[in-house]
Symmetry: C2
Subunit: 366 residues, 2 copies
């Protein structure tokens, strides 16, 4: 939907100085520009201009998820404790506990939804014919972690896209894993970000290592080691590499790369997890294969931090004058200013340009 808007309709104002309590560049610039408002530590409102940027990012994500067969849905934020108890994740400190009048701490605020989707889908999957399928949502998530001091890069409440995939076999999972990888590169590229595909650690719920999409930025909380020649990268949490090591990856021709490894600070904007069957086993998510045998469904999960992506774009694309939005995520295509509104001719000409832009479906802020 093309929108044209007169600036007088916006209730937000720009200011020349940023908030004193926000050290990060993204929070400074987004607050000064009237894109966001900080309600509490790690809790932000998206003002009309900021919400337009979130809308542009969400549109890109939806297009790329739909292109790889993703079905959009929407799961609740109130996750009954019984869901998380089955995997033991209900006790993790990251989940905010919600008190109901009925009893103490009836819910955890959804910080991830593997448990919920495994329960839902266990009701409708019976046969190998029901597989594979892919479902995603764009939703507010809640995480009670650490001190929130990086603006939109780490919040107690934030927007996330989470995709879940369901397969007959690990082989089929890894085929889809590759498709998601390519779709993620497209999403980040359309948002104006160059990402580094980085090997990261697995855990109790994954069948192998996982992968992260990292954007190099001084403000980043992650440290990665990346080869400047072949681009191979590892998260420092699992890496044995050191700055200036020789890269030992093998190039497509079988030769050892030998490039120089560099240590970089970076922001994780996406991650992909080959989950395997742990969740399926906990929730009785089974299917009958061609031979009639019952087997647990093989799952994958894939996240993109939507609001973090907006913060990352600002960290990467700004100069001393402010934010320089990449075209596809800019709140408007054009900003039209009438500098002499008291001059009738100037004003008429500005109105003419405004109408012309509107007619040609250019999104303009007047």
């Amino acid at each position: 939907m093309i929108v044209v808007m007169r600036q007088s309709q916006l209730f937000t104002k720009t200011s020349k100085t940023g908030p004193a309590d926000e050290p990060s560049k993204n929070a400074q610039l987004l607050t000064r520009g009237g894109f966001i408002y900080k309600n509490s530590a790690g809790v932000y409102s998206y003002l009309p201009l900021g919400w337009r940027v979130i809308g542009k990012i969400s549109k890109i994500i939806r297009e790329e998820m739909n292109a790889i067969g993703g079905q959009e849905m929407f799961m609740p934020a109130l996750v009954e404790k019984t869901y998380m108890e089955k995997t033991g994740r209900g006790e993790l400190g990251v989940g905010f506990r919600v008190k109901d009048k009925i009893g103490p701490e009836a819910y955890v605020l959804g910080w991830t939804h593997e448990e919920v989707i495994a329960t839902i889908t266990s009701k409708s999957i019976n046969s190998y014919k029901d597989l594979p399928f892919y479902a995603y949502q764009i939703q507010t998530k809640f995480r009670s972690e650490g001190r929130a001091k990086s603006g939109l890069l780490r919040g107690h409440e934030f927007l996330m896209k989470d995709l879940y995939s369901f397969h007959e076999s690990e082989e089929d999972l890894f085929k889809y894993y590759g498709r998601v990888k390519e779709a993620y590169f497209k999403v980040f590229e359309r948002c104006g970000l160059k990402t580094i595909y980085t090997l990261a650690g697995g855990g109790a719920f994954t069948i192998s290592n996982t992968h992260e999409f990292q954007v190099v930025a001084a403000v980043g909380e992650d440290t990665i080691f990346v080869c400047e020649k072949c681009g191979y990268a590892e998260n420092s949490e699992i890496s044995k590499l050191k700055q200036r090591d020789e890269c030992s990856s093998h190039l497509p021709d079988g030769q050892k790369c030998g490039g120089r490894v560099l240590e970089k600070k970076s922001i994780e904007v996406g991650n992909i997890f080959p989950l395997g069957t742990k969740y399926a086993e906990a929730f009785g998510l089974e299917f009958q294969d061609k031979e009639g045998r019952k087997k647990p469904v093989v799952m994958g999960s894939y996240g993109i931090g939507v609001s973090r992506l907006m913060g990352t774009v600002v960290e990467v694309h700004h100069d001393e004058k402010g934010i320089i939005w990449p075209k596809e995520v800019a709140p408007f295509d054009a900003h039209l200013l009438c500098l002499s509104p008291e001059n009738k001719n100037v004003r008429a000409e500005a109105e003419r340009v405004y109408d012309l832009l509107e007619k040609n479906h250019v999104e303009v802020l007047y």
Copy 2:
């Protein structure tokens, strides 16, 4: 965005019998059709088909809100208790309390956002030149109230559109109040619902009576008295009318109506509140008028229950075979079935029709 979808991509299935623990027609039919999944009492997931309907309803609402100058934004669900303490609404039982690791009950889960928007806008409104403006959001709200037994009609977690308006004077507020009224009628009409504009009670935070948009339905929790001749209606909570009274409203020609008053059960799908200055006074939301005097901003607030609207459409539009979606909110325009997929010619013809529909931007489920 036009979407065509092969039914095999949908992971949900229809069933002939509804859930035993769901007495309401909307929960029965929406669950059977694979539109929603009940996670807990009053807490639902929207499955791909259901989420498409929510998307259609949200699109209608956005178009009508934008048409009356509404700016879309997005406020947080984690509302710090200090916000609600200023109006004394933090202690109301309707708000779920959230525990943080940092301390006990740091937040209330947002069940309405007057306090939050009054705080945000108090930072940017200075002069009468900044008024009026209108901001809205479509967002998950949380209310801890009663036993949830009416499906999407009353949930602990639900989707809502809330619009807030900001004015110099009560006169300007009531002018806009009338515009919102007309926009609401358009929204409900496009969703296939006939609504009755009903006088309802005010409260500590309103300057006069409020109005509700009621849909007549046996399952409704509200009781209204409505004149079958002129359509004048009052909520039973404030009404002195009785079934079969003579309507004493005055018609446009000054004559007393005299129509027969009927008692009806109904569902409240929207409401509009002339708030006045109570919130502005609590949050220091002031402006300077033309004469340089400081005055509190006059506010209005206007709600539509988005998920409740979906439930209401189902209550009104179904027969013994299932839901009959009104055109604008149907998940798809067409449902194409190939009844003999083993017959090559039939299959080729079905594929041809599918391509044709796709090319002509008809949303089709194949």
